[in-house]
Symmetry: C2
Subunit: 124 residues, 2 copies
DNA sequence: CTCTTACATGTGTCTTTTACATATACATGC
DNA sequence: GCATGTATATGTAAAAGACACATGTAAGAG
């Protein structure tokens, strides 16, 4: 079975993940606000933010190009170092503004989840 | 444009929502743990938990049948009261166990998001 | 009696998001 | 020459969700 899964197989059942949708997007914007980086570099640093909810390599590059099309990041080829050429991404002012909106939305999400958990604990 | 959206249109841009994926599932299980209810009733009470992130009517009924197929809720027709017949749902022991897993996963999600926000505030 | 509104349960269908598999290419060590 | 690590991508299918629509009961207004 394929596709995004809130639950994953485990003895006939699924494991619950509770990921925030499109979380890779603010995660990339945050990493790029800290410093410009290329895709492979971001791929290795993403787990610091996403934890168990890993981001898939193929989707990461597509996401980066999508962000660039929307003017949220900019990029240029960097073949200064040896090895395969890297595309170096940097956040744009529009990207920084979107990151701010993401932060607000994540705070609201935190409040929603906190309310849920409080209500869950109420009659546990 | 259609489909789930982290951002919604607003003067050429999108609004960020930061919803937890499949959040309607634990929300339904929690409401049903508090007391059995029928779909329309749940639809009206869901916003207490989901807030801005509303659950769509059509998807709700599909979700309820999905939960029943997995043995997480049970249901029976209730035509005791006047008006159209209602299908009355109740949570099963398996449903309560899954709700517990959701609560754990949501706590882990809270920690991830908290770490993200802390890192975001660091160099704001 | 007909029309509208509220209650109640659903189906059809498309887009977006994500998972998983695969392709390509450079560089280094063996 | 071949494996490994670095680096960037594409193809495709499934899952999740959005939106439109269909069906039927009952109560109240006119």
């Amino acid at each position: 079975m394929r596709g995004p899964r809130a639950r994953r197989h485990h003895r006939g059942r699924w494991r619950v993940f509770a990921r925030v949708e499109r979380f890779a997007e603010p995660a990339l914007l945050l990493l790029l606000r800290e410093r410009p980086a290329h895709g492979y570099d971001l791929l290795e640093r993403l787990p610091e933010l996403t934890g168990e909810a890993r981001v898939e390599m193929g989707n990461l590059y597509r996401l980066l190009r999508g962000l660039e099309e929307e003017g949220l990041v900019s990029s240029e080829w960097d073949d200064s170092s040896p090895g395969p050429a890297k595309r170096r991404y940097a956040i744009t002012p529009a990207g920084e503004r979107l990151l701010d909106h993401w932060a607000e939305a994540l705070r609201r999400s935190q409040e929603r989840t906190a309310r849920f958990l409080a209500r869950y604990e109420e009659r546990r």
